[in-house]
């Protein structure tokens, strides 16, 4: 693998010689070390996980919309134990919510999103032949695969999968007596997440090293496309925060299996006084959210990066305020490490500490706002091409704003007292993180599909997919602001036991209906995706008339990406519609004309 990295800079002839070895099915499709193939593996595995996560959410939305009703489909999938006669069991409800959250946050929007686009785009956009270490890259995927398999496997154990919420707070997650899901299901969850952390660290280190070391000639940091900047900072956040989650998880494993008491104190459960005592459950929350908050930006930053790229290309304009965009990515990255306490305002934390966390959290709103303004002004006076990718990315700007603004309410610790853990929070994070990242990921898939598969996705189906997804996304999550403000707690199996909440049945049904509509739309996407892989229109080399380097590679994938020598970069990535040019784009490989400036990049 060291030799591989070395060849990345070697002349093409030497490189070609390096690749005379035969490729068989296993080395090409399964144990591939080619970043493009690994990117596709992440995409397909992530998409599969997303469909599982989506089905789980439909199951629990059925219960929430029609509490206590019998659904044959629930009985069919969950069996007599968890859905007797088709009525969902409360423990299973919590399990579904937990695994849904885990899959969406980690498996789709962390590994699926970063794994796909970091692998595909980093080498291609910086002009490298591959990742710094192809082997580690492959390892990262297979650890992710194993981790996914274990998570899915945990759905089938006798006592049910983990059910303590995706944040698995102890003591609930630590004690088998507390809920059935905290038995073997939780053990599998912990094992799966441990592998996940390993995968994420190996992948992340590789991305960082590649970006720092393997940029081609002329590709200075300030000429990097914003996608690469975003993926770079994302990888750094991951490398710094995932080990802390690992530490938290490890201590939990000790408490569960080896009788330690890091998180346990003064507990009497199942009729017994627990002998493990002297710890603090809040320690876990600190460790978890020290990862957890950076984690939400690990999800969001790549989405913002993809959006920057897609919006610039399709507005046929430079991204507005490139330097400010980079600065906000860095500011968000830094600040995301000092805000975690905003998830713990009502744990009884010291009020002064709570005040500090409110302050730092509200600071994040500033770079976030700058990004939103810059996206909007990129559209201004553009020549906007509404490709499906563009539609998704415009939608993403909307969800990013809608959801980011409610973050300002939540960040206010005094206000959070009454809305913490209500549906208002559910609305906030699904819109700002869930919808935004999902929309951007779709945008990225539509945009780079020709690069991945050499064919185009169907445009019309893309439009229908967009509008159904976008509208039903808001249809599901927007009303939740209001039920949250009415004091509806999250993670309730049914809310009809409180007169105040029972009034919202109609709205809950509407939400469930939107959820089902949104789910159906995703099957449209799946069809389009697989259909287009085989029968889509053949792609041209640069279908979107884009400046970045990935479009200078041949449509047919080859090892090493460029048949000849590596391209040399002469300008930044955003010379769209530059005055004095015949065409409205100037690829990064085109030298500056005499007297032409590239804005100091």
């Amino acid at each position: 693998m060291a030799s591989h990295a070395a060849t990345a800079h070697a002349p093409a002839s030497a490189h070609a010689a390096d690749h005379h070895h035969e490729e068989n099915f296993f080395t090409k499709y399964l144990f591939s070390q080619d970043h493009k193939m690994i990117g596709k593996q992440f995409l397909i595995t992530g998409t599969f996980m997303a469909f599982v996560g989506m089905m789980l959410s439909i199951f629990f939305r059925l219960q929430l919309g029609w509490p206590g009703e019998k659904f044959a489909i629930l009985n069919f999938f969950l069996g007599d134990k968890w859905a007797p006669e088709g009525v969902l069991d409360p423990n299973m409800y919590l399990a579904l919510v937990t695994i849904h959250g885990t899959i969406m946050v980690f498996f789709l929007l962390t590994a699926g999103l970063s794994g796909t686009f970091a692998n595909l785009l980093i080498p291609l956009q910086i002009g490298a032949r591959d990742m710094a270490s192809g082997f580690m890259n492959m390892l990262s995927y297979w650890l992710f695969f194993l981790s996914s398999a274990i998570m899915i496997g945990s759905l089938f154990v006798e006592t049910g999968p983990a059910a303590a919420g995706w944040t698995i707070y102890p003591p609930l997650s630590a004690l088998e007596e507390a809920m059935p899901g905290s038995g073997i299901g939780m053990t599998l969850w912990l094992v799966s997440m441990t592998l996940f952390v390993a995968s994420s660290l190996i992948g992340g280190l590789n991305y960082i090293v590649t970006i720092i070391n393997l940029r081609t000639k002329g590709m200075t940091m300030t000429r990097l496309p914003l996608t690469v900047w975003a993926l770079f900072v994302t990888a750094i956040l991951g490398v710094l925060s995932f080990p802390v989650l690992f530490a938290g998880v490890l201590l939990l494993v000790f408490d569960r299996s080896f009788g330690t008491s890091f998180y346990l104190s003064d507990i009497n459960i199942g009729g017994m006084a627990l002998e493990q005592t002297g710890g603090s459950p809040l320690l876990y929350q600190h460790l978890f959210w020290f990862l957890g908050h950076p984690e939400v930006y690990i999800i969001l930053l790549p989405a913002l990066g993809i959006t920057s790229e897609v919006i610039a290309v399709n507005s046929r304009k430079p991204i507005f305020g490139y330097r400010a965009m980079v600065a906000s990515i860095l500011a968000i990255g830094f600040l995301s490490f000092i805000v975690w306490g905003h998830h713990m305002f009502v744990t009884g934390m010291n009020p002064f500490v709570g005040a500090v966390f409110t302050f730092t959290t509200l600071l994040i709103a500033i770079p976030s706002a700058v990004k939103a303004f810059n996206f909007i002004s990129t559209l201004f006076k553009g020549n906007i091409q509404f490709t499906p990718a563009m539609m998704f990315c415009v939608g993403m700007v909307s969800t990013f704003i809608s959801g980011g603004l409610t973050g300002i309410i939540l960040a206010d610790n005094a206000l959070d007292i009454n809305i913490h853990d209500t549906y208002f929070v559910v609305a906030h994070f699904h819109i700002v993180m869930g919808l935004s990242a999902v929309l951007a990921m779709f945008g990225g898939v539509y945009h780079w599909f020709p690069k991945m598969f050499g064919r185009m996705m169907n445009k019309k189906l893309g439009y229908i997919h967009f509008w159904l997804t976008f509208a039903s996304g808001y249809g599901v999550f927007f009303p939740m602001h209001f039920t949250g403000l009415a004091g509806m707690p999250r993670r309730y199996y049914q809310y009809t036991d409180f007169p105040m909440l029972a009034e919202f049945t109609d709205l809950a049904q509407l939400i469930s209906a939107f959820a089902i509509l949104g789910a159906i739309a995703q099957f449209l996407f799946a069809f389009n995706f697989f259909y287009s892989i085989f029968r889509g229109q053949k792609a041209e080399q640069n279908p979107w008339k884009s400046n970045t380097l990935e479009w200078t590679t041949p449509v047919e994938h080859i090892h090493g990406n460029w048949p000849g020598p590596l391209p040399t970069v002469h300008r930044w990535a955003y010379d769209y519609s530059k005055p004095g040019k015949d065409v409205d784009f100037v690829p990064q490989t085109v030298p500056l004309e005499e007297g032409e400036t590239d804005e100091g990049h």
Binding site: G382, N383, I409, A414, M457
Partner: protein, 417 residues
């Protein structure tokens, strides 16, 4: 069998039909020269119009959500600090709603206005430092305002409870709540998780409960020991698997007993005069209430949305929250026009299968009715709490000791000078 065949047949036919349809569809696209890598002027125009339609649809949906939920949201705050919080919430909502509307209009209007067409060229604009500075400073200024107001409210709410606050303990366990009032001595007695039993939900410490626990544990130990010597069978070898299991349990029980004996040696605040309440608890209006929270097993959260109050209950770490209720249950029934209205205590931290149904009713009433209600309760010692109606006398700030206090502080001030 026939049926299965039939279904299979229909299935195959269906697939064939879809395949044919796709073929036709593909051909038609080819003939029309449809291309997936280019967007026609017509498509651009159509999608950009859809963006505008969406904008109005989104705003309308917002308004509709607002409209259908406006009578179902929380009624006016029933606590003093909550009134300020509601104001603050509305103020913040005003700011973010304005930002929301303006940015969305800009976003979707630009998308509509600048939709592309062939032969047109966009205007090259890479940055504008002045503009970008402006839109960094504007949000920063708003954040500053929000932070200042927010932290003011936070500091007020989280300040120490007033001295004259009634102390009430709320205790959570899977899956119910208990409330505890201090008795005659005005102090909540001590509690310990080792003491929880079927007769002692909250594990409070009284000589009686301590003794009972010892008896209970000794009984359990005897039972386990008996298992080692089953009647009519040979004795179980303590080093066999089963024997080990029994011995382990006996040792655990012995250790538990030791812990109780240790507790007995301690000096503790006797909880015998305290009053434990299940299901419905009362609090007096216009008097600050100082809640202290404990949890038996996992983390729960005491959520009282009508009072804009919430605090997690954490095993091993006592927490607290205080507020002053200002609207009685009766008054709130009138205000909401709902005769059955009640204040509720919810559990708002995922805690297991019945998390969704872990509640208590809270009755807010005038002080006299409150005293009367409390007088009807029974203490842990089994005595009627009758006297307790006045048991709180020393907590109530009667005019006399109010004066005392003032004098005292004046003295102190004088001394300091």
């Amino acid at each position: 069998m026939m049926l299965t065949l039939l279904i299979l047949f229909v299935g195959v036919l269906g697939v064939l039909a879809v395949v044919q349809l796709i073929r036709v569809f593909e051909l038609a696209r080819k003939i029309r020269g449809h291309r997936d890598d280019q967007v026609t002027n017509r498509e651009n125009r159509f999608q950009s119009r859809m963006m505008m339609v969406f904008l109005f649809g989104y705003f309308a949906f917002f308004a509709w959500c607002f409209w259908v939920t406006k009578d179902k949201l929380l009624p006016e705050s029933a606590s003093e600090h909550g009134v300020g919080l509601d104001w603050l919430l509305n103020f913040n909502f005003l700011i973010i709603t304005i930002a929301f509307v303006l940015t969305h209009i800009a976003l979707f209007y630009f998308a509509y206005r600048y939709s592309g067409h062939r032969g047109h060229k966009a205007v090259y604009m890479s940055h504008d430092n002045r503009l970008e500075l402006v839109w960094t400073i504007i949000p920063a200024a708003f954040m500053a305002v929000i932070i200042i107001y927010g932290l003011n409210a936070w500091n007020d709410i989280t300040a120490d409870a007033p001295e004259d606050a009634h102390q009430i303990e709320l205790y959570s366990f899977q899956f119910a709540w208990r409330a505890r009032y201090p008795g005659q001595d005005g102090i909540l007695g001590d509690a310990n998780y080792n003491l929880v039993s079927s007769t002692n939900d909250m594990g409070v410490m009284t000589p009686k409960f301590l003794d009972e626990k010892i008896v209970e544990l000794e009984g359990d130990i005897a039972l386990e020991t008996a298992k080692l010597k089953p009647e009519g069978y040979p004795e179980i070898d303590p080093s066999s698997t089963m024997g080990k299991q029994y011995t382990k349990e006996i040792n655990r029980l012995e250790r538990h007993k030791k812990r109780i004996q240790k507790l007995q040696q301690l000096e503790y605040q006797d909880a015998g005069d305290d009053i434990m309440i299940a299901d419905t608890f009362h609090i007096p209006v216009n008097k600050p209430v100082h809640f202290v929270f404990r949890s038996r097993d996992v983390i729960h959260s005491a959520y009282m949305p009508h009072f804009r109050a919430q605090m997690n209950t954490v095993p091993g770490t006592p927490t607290e929250f205080h507020f002053k209720p200002i609207v009685t249950t009766e008054e709130m029934r009138e205000k909401t026009g709902d005769e059955e209205f009640n204040y509720y205590l919810y559990c708002n931290k995922i805690c297991g299968s019945s998390h969704y149904n872990m509640k208590m009713i809270i009755i807010v009433e005038d002080e006299a009715s409150y005293a009367e209600w409390l007088a009807e309760q029974t203490t842990y010692n089994g005595e009627p709490a009758g006297e307790l109606a006045t048991g709180f006398h020393h907590l109530k700030s009667t005019p006399e000791n109010e004066e005392d206090k003032q004098e005292a502080t004046e003295d102190e001030v004088a001394q300091m000078n």
